[in-house]
């Protein structure tokens, strides 16, 4: 029977001889990740399970990124807890100044390979679908069981095929592709399903752009969003992957729950308006809205590609006097590369705050939260009420070109009108 990519990965990671959509199976994990928020809650649950050792320390990664650097003494204690537990269990640990945002670190460090099952105590673990892995977010008790036994329970999901054709126009990025998808599925349309991104438009995307696309699969309610591995994936993993891998694809004739068409030739820069990622408009239709803060960063859009786009806008220009602009490289590696390429100097000269890699304000943790009545334009993935601080603030989601242009103009504008 022809199978989808997701089914093939899950079948290879369970004891069942055959699986069908909706079956509950125990799935073996290749990587288990948690952070300073989800980790300590999981450690407590694992202790309550009476388990003292993790199933395989080499497959476990802990990343201190959410309240990093610690915003207060309580957060500092959480960081210490994460570090001490990690050292005691001999797992991979990325501390302040050593890693960055968890998903970026896992990808850069070669932990994620096509066909792997990656679970994380973070909903954006779907990001790892960019490399052809089944990456999915779990709560802390699930993570505790995964740390203990290397397994989690999972229903076999159906797949929505996203067929991307045409060529991206200027100022259109991976962010716009995924916003266009969510505009079609709605924020719950992907529930119990996987998004699979195919077609010439998908194959033409760089790994950075695939990361931005896969990152927001969960905003459609999906379990994960996967790009079948191809030559771009192979080139990225050359000399980086820590384990051997084989490309996996959906079989010809595999059944899909739905097919979504995205035509890049007709796609404009998009923006998710407050307070839902599915509240998508064309940037061109909402220009003129005043912006108090611009935030460029996060696990989907803090890549060197995003930083280069922003730098192109900020070079020789300055941040509008009524705007605070923050830029957050997603990892130490991205930070270092931006330094080498001279991008950080461009940002400093333009009047941005250049932050250390962190989740920070992306989830309202610190490092730039919003006051009541403020409007922000960010490259992050969620614009729920209160996500970045006050519940009375408004968050708009868009790509790095659009965010940087708004920082210069002080309002939502088409990037072409600034550059």
């Amino acid at each position: 029977m022809p199978r989808t990519l997701a089914e093939k990965i899950l079948l290879a990671h369970c004891d069942a001889d055959d699986i069908a959509i909706g079956d509950l199976i125990m799935v073996r994990c290749d990587i288990v990740m948690a952070n300073d928020v989800s980790g300590p809650v999981a450690f407590r649950a694992m202790a309550e399970m009476g388990i003292e050792k993790v199933f395989d320390p080499d497959k476990v990664i802990m990343v201190a990124d959410h309240f990093m650097p610690a915003k207060d003494a309580v957060s500092a204690a959480q960081q210490r807890r994460l570090k001490e537990w990690s050292q005691a269990h001999g797992v991979h640990f990325y501390d302040q100044g050593r890693g960055g945002i968890e998903h970026t670190v896992m990808v850069e460090e070669g932990f994620v390979v096509p066909g792997a099952v990656v679970v994380g105590g973070d909903s954006h673990t779907c990001t790892h679908g960019a490399l052809g892995a089944f990456g999915t977010g779990l709560g802390s008790t699930d993570i505790a069981a995964a740390l203990a036994f290397g397994e989690f329970w999972q229903g076999v999901p159906a797949t929505i095929l996203v067929n991307i054709t045409g060529e991206k126009r200027r100022f259109v990025t991976g962010k716009d592709i995924i916003l266009a998808v969510i505009a079609q599925t709605g924020v719950a349309g992907g529930t119990d399903k996987v998004l699979e991104f195919v077609g010439p438009g998908a194959e033409a995307l760089s790994i950075d752009e695939r990361l931005a696309v896969a990152n927001m699969a969960v905003e459609a309610g999906s379990e994960t969003g996967i790009f079948p591995a191809d030559e771009t994936t192979r080139a990225y993993l050359e000399g980086r992957a820590r384990t051997a891998w084989e490309p996996v694809r959906s079989d010809p004739g595999a059944e899909f729950a739905q097919t979504i068409q995205i035509d890049l030739d007709g796609l404009d820069p998009l923006i998710a308006m407050p307070h839902l990622p599915g509240n998508v408009e064309r940037v061109a239709d909402v220009t003129g809205k005043k912006i108090d803060q611009v935030y460029i960063g996060n696990c989907g859009n803090g890549t060197i590609t995003d930083l280069r786009q922003a730098a192109e806008i900020f070079r020789g220009r300055t941040v509008h006097r009524d705007v605070r602009a923050i830029i957050v490289p997603a990892s130490q590696r991205v930070y270092r590369q931006a330094l080498d390429e001279g991008l950080l100097g461009v940002f400093v000269d333009a009047g941005l705050i250049v932050s250390t890699p962190t989740c920070g304000a992306c989830f309202g943790g610190g490092n730039g939260v919003l006051a009541a009545g403020e409007a922000a334009l960010t490259t992050t993935n969620r614009n729920f009420k209160g996500r970045m601080g006050s519940g009375e603030a408004e968050v708009h989601l868009a790509n790095a070109w659009v965010a940087a242009a708004a920082a210069v103009a002080g309002e939502i504008v088409n990037p072409a009108d600034v550059l």
Binding site: L24, D36, V37, S38, P40, V41, F43, R44, A45, E48, M49, G50, I51, H66, F67, K71, D72, V74, S75, Q78, R81, G121, D122, S123, G137, L138, G139, S140, T141, D142, A144, A145, A148, F149, W153, G155, V187, A188, T191, D192, V218, G221, E223, L276, F363, G364, G365, G366, V369, R382, F384, K385, G386, R387, G391
Partner: protein
């Protein structure tokens, strides 16, 4: 397993885990402390309704967004015995079962319930009773029922490793 309580209704679709438990309070692993911030970004006054055993009644795609288990942990720590809704977001749904506070999919029961309704859930039969009126819920698969009967994923895992 029979669960019961008085209905506390939180209406609206796509209620996300950020409003249910805002990010700035995530720096704790203690469920008793988590209990203090449930509904903080939505309406903190809802917490005053959580007296005795309660059943949380919700609409569509409840618990969307973040995987933060602080939400169902705080739900459990506040004496909510189960959640009855139209549909749930995936990670929130799993988290609830893992913690032994099931998320029951039953659109009719959700629609029928009002503040203070007497609700009883028979998890094995998949029946939700609202003020004496019975509704059929989406069946709970055997594995999840087994885990629930054990008390959640922690006791289930303890049993597994014994």
């Amino acid at each position: 397993m029979i669960l019961s309580g008085n209905a506390v209704c939180v209406r609206g679709d796509n209620i996300d885990t950020d409003v249910l438990y805002p990010g700035s309070y995530l720096n704790t692993e203690d469920p008793q402390r988590m209990a203090l911030f449930l509904f903080e970004g939505l309406d903190p006054k809802i917490r005053e309704e959580l007296v005795g055993d309660t059943v949380l009644v919700v609409d569509d795609n409840f618990g969307s967004g973040s995987s933060r288990e602080h939400v169902p942990q705080a739900i459990r720590a506040n004496g909510i015995t189960c959640v009855v809704g139209k549909t749930f977001a995936r990670i929130f749904y799993r988290n609830c079962f893992n913690l032994g506070v099931p998320a029951i999919v039953c659109p009719e029961a959700s629609a029928a319930a009002t503040k203070g309704s007497q609700i009883t859930v028979d998890t094995a039969a998949g029946v939700v009773t609202v003020d004496g009126q019975a509704f059929q819920a989406k069946p709970i698969p055997p594995f999840m029922l087994d885990m629930l009967t054990a008390g959640g994923l922690v006791p289930w895992s303890r049993r597994r490793s014994a």
